[in-house]
């Protein structure tokens, strides 16, 4: 990314806590990242790593039980920076940003639409709220958007109900609904997980072309390393509520440093590559983020851990050059050694 550009959003030390009878659940523990205009950041991780809660914290739509800490600095169109976490989650200001400046698409398009209203009227909702009160104009804007996302025969489709749409078409309609206000940032939470491969490919390509056209930034949340490779400029790998490694897609895929990233990359079979007899696999399962002690979250499953260090001290994030950052004691030692020999 060019140096002169200002990030559209900067997440600083974001934490999400949930108080439970059994103790403190910390699904997100100090997440930092920033996204620049026109860029796609992939947030990758397995279920329970906190990636969805992170995205919902940005929009302030997390469950009431969750408390968010840290800062989420959003730069609006007038170049004014606001901390989204300081805004009242049900207040006027956040509602002016939500849906207009930042919008979100979800995994299950079937659930995202109400079965009671036509697709058109649901796409209109955001337009009428943020852009115009004129229903005729809103219809025009919606139709234009529906055409843009490749819904053929948009005029007819406009008056149809969600059950008359197929999964792929519905996801397109969902994207149209999210983009109708031309947001500056789009959060896509597993947008293609529920879709078939051929439909998935269409939707991903659609998102890419719309991004070029509208210049928006995308936060792309997924567990699928294939779609990330296809979609994202930069990748952040999350584990147990922390980002363990970030870098450009090439840095992460070709030169993973964190043991978790390495394991993750080894776990997927790259189609078309020579068949290894066995896949690399990470032993054990993701622990529950309950009453966590200091130390690296990956300690228990790591094959490369340093006793007495990794389970005692939180690893700090170090820069490996360029945008490639990693939070690992082992990597830090290796980097220090290299610096000495040089």
């Amino acid at each position: 990314m060019s140096e002169t550009k200002q990030p559209i959003i900067q997440v600083k030390n974001l934490g999400v806590n949930i108080k439970m009878d059994e103790g403190l659940l910390t699904p997100v523990r100090g997440v930092d990242f920033e996204i620049y205009p026109g860029e796609t950041l992939g947030l990758v991780g397995e279920s329970g790593c906190g990636k969805s809660l992170t995205s919902k914290a940005i929009l302030g739509i997390n469950d009431k039980k969750c408390t968010s800490t840290g800062e989420i600095l959003f730069r609006d169109e007038t170049d004014k920076v606001v901390d989204l976490l300081k805004l009242n989650p049900r207040g006027k200001e956040i509602r002016a940003i939500r849906g207009k400046q930042i919008s979100m698409i979800f995994q299950e398009p079937m659930v995202a639409f109400s079965p009671m209203y036509t697709i058109g009227s649901q796409i209109n909702e955001a337009t009428l709220l943020h852009i115009t009160r004129d229903k005729k104009k809103a219809r025009e804007i919606s139709l234009e958007m529906m055409k843009m996302v490749g819904i053929a025969n948009a005029e007819k489709r406009y008056d149809q109900y969600p059950h008359e749409f197929s999964g792929g078409m519905l996801q397109r309609a969902l994207i149209a609904m999210a983009l109708v206000c031309r947001p500056r940032m789009l959060i896509a939470d597993e947008p293609t997980t529920a879709l078939d491969v051929t439909i998935q490919a269409q939707i991903l390509e659609l998102m890419q072309s719309l991004q070029k056209e509208l210049g928006m930034a995308i936060l792309f949340i997924t567990h699928d390393l294939g779609t990330v490779a296809k979609m994202c400029d930069r990748v952040a790998v999350m584990y147990l509520g922390k980002i363990v490694e970030t870098g450009t897609a090439r840095e992460i895929y070709k030169n993973p440093q964190h043991p978790y990233t390495k394991g993750l990359m080894g776990s997927v079979h790259k189609i078309g590559s020579l068949k290894a007899d066995r896949l690399f696999s990470i032993e054990g399962t993701v622990p529950l983020a309950l009453n966590l002690q200091p130390g690296c979250g990956f300690y228990e499953r790591c094959g490369d851990r340093i006793e007495g260090v990794c389970n005692k001290i939180d690893p700090e994030t170090i820069n490996l050059g360029g945008t490639h950052c990693v939070a690992c004691h082992r990597c830090k030692r290796a980097a220090e050694k290299e610096a000495v020999t040089e």
Binding site: I18, M20, D21, E22, G23, L25, P27, S47, G48, L53, D63, K65, L288, L290
Partner: protein, 383 residues
């Protein structure tokens, strides 16, 4: 969100906890349900040991005490010093001005309240003979407050007396036996009918299913009060009280099973499609085993919830039938029979204590509803 649902207790006992243990744990988190459970336990214990808790038997009444207010309990002597709690007996006095007979306290003699006092003979659970009651009245010498014929010289009525001069407190306790068990017995009958017919309906499907479903629809389309009236008209009027009890139960369960059968059928159909049932079939497990080991345990908890939520209906059913004179009749005692005393406004205005049984009905119904609510939340600990 899976994250919140995930149970976080990590101890081994949680991992080895069966469905019922998990339900119990979840139920305990529901404070209102827990509280209701305590209330219900107290009520049922009261009913079970009614002979002991009630100071008077059902046959003991006194014309002198007709429609009298709750007995006043004194803590202080005439000179103002504290004393053992005592009450006065009643006497008839002629009002000199109006020549009306009025009943007032006979302040000449004190009768003290004694714990575990001697009273009317009874047989606990119908077997253990005893004459000890939780409390009773004794005179200053400590002898029971009775004359040589065993007639009470003074009476203590915590909730006042009814139109026959019987103790409402005792009658509430004895009435609880009927009012609190009829729903259970009728629930048990509904349970069996519901599982059987619902199970047949869900398992066989097709024509059988259709016939049973139509029967259910017809039955649930009939308004309940006219149906009770029709059914109770079929009961011979001169039957003994104990058989009456049985008839009422049957009448109530006749309506109760339909809803349950529907639940069973629905659960049966949805559980049959679960992967673990398919897995059992593929492993060669017999149909009967699949039903008893996978299907029935799978919906049993839902049935219990359904039953619990159905019990208030039965309680109210019994109460309203008796109130309407279609169910239990005096001398048998149930809460509905007790409430029959409050039929006219005059008696309510003059003797408001006769409404006390109503409080018990309301409390019981609420307690069952709250408990059912808690059970419903706990019914599926896996979701």
């Amino acid at each position: 969100m899976a994250l919140f649902r995930k149970k976080t207790a990590s101890d081994e006992s949680y991992y080895m906890a069966s469905q019922w243990t998990l339900m119990w744990r979840k139920l305990q988190k529901h404070k209102l349900a827990k509280f209701s459970l305590v209330i219900l336990a107290i009520l049922y214990l009261g009913a079970l040991f009614a002979d002991f808790f009630a100071p008077y038997g059902l046959e003991e009444f006194s014309a002198l005490y007709k429609n009298t207010a709750p007995t006043k309990i004194y803590w202080q002597d005439e000179d103002g010093s504290f004393s053992r709690p005592y009450v006065y007996g009643l006497k008839k006095v002629n009002d000199r001005k109006t020549f009306k007979v009025i009943i007032t306290e006979d302040t000449t003699k004190k009768y003290y309240i004694d714990l575990f006092a001697e009273g009317m003979e009874y047989k606990l659970f119908g077997v253990i003979p005893s004459n000890t009651h939780l409390f009773g009245l004794v005179d200053e010498a400590g002898n029971p407050a009775r004359d040589a014929n065993g007639k009470a010289l003074a009476r203590i009525h915590l909730f006042g007396a009814d139109s026959t001069g019987a103790c409402i407190f005792s009658r509430v306790l004895f009435g609880a036996r009927v009012s609190l068990t009829i729903p259970f017995v009728s629930a048990a009958i509904s349970f069996v009918l519901g599982i059987l017919l619902g199970g047949i309906s869900g398992y066989f499907g097709g024509v059988v299913d259709n016939v049973i479903q139509r029967i259910i629809e017809v039955l649930s389309a009939i308004p309940s009060i006219p149906l009770w009236m029709a059914l109770s008209a079929a009961i011979p009027p001169d039957i003994p009280v104990s058989s009456m009890y049985l008839y009422i139960t049957i009448i109530l369960s006749f309506i109760g099973w339909t809803g349950l059968a529907r639940v069973v059928r629905g659960k049966f159909i949805s559980l049959r499609k679960e992967d673990y049932v398919t897995a059992a079939r593929l492993a060669g497990v017999s149909d009967l085993k699949i039903i008893t080991k996978h299907l029935v345990p799978g919906f049993l908890s839902y049935l219990i919830v359904n039953l619990t939520l159905g019990i208030p209906g039965s309680i109210l059913g019994e109460t309203s039938m008796s109130y309407l004179g279609l169910g239990m009749k005096a001398p048998a005692t149930s809460w509905g029979v007790l409430l029959k005393e409050t039929e006219d406004l005059v008696s309510v205005a003059q003797c408001p204590w006769k409404m006390i049984p109503l409080i018990f009905v309301i409390v019981t119904v609420l307690a069952f509803n709250f408990l059912g609510d808690g059970l419903r939340d706990a019914a599926d600990p896996y979701k």
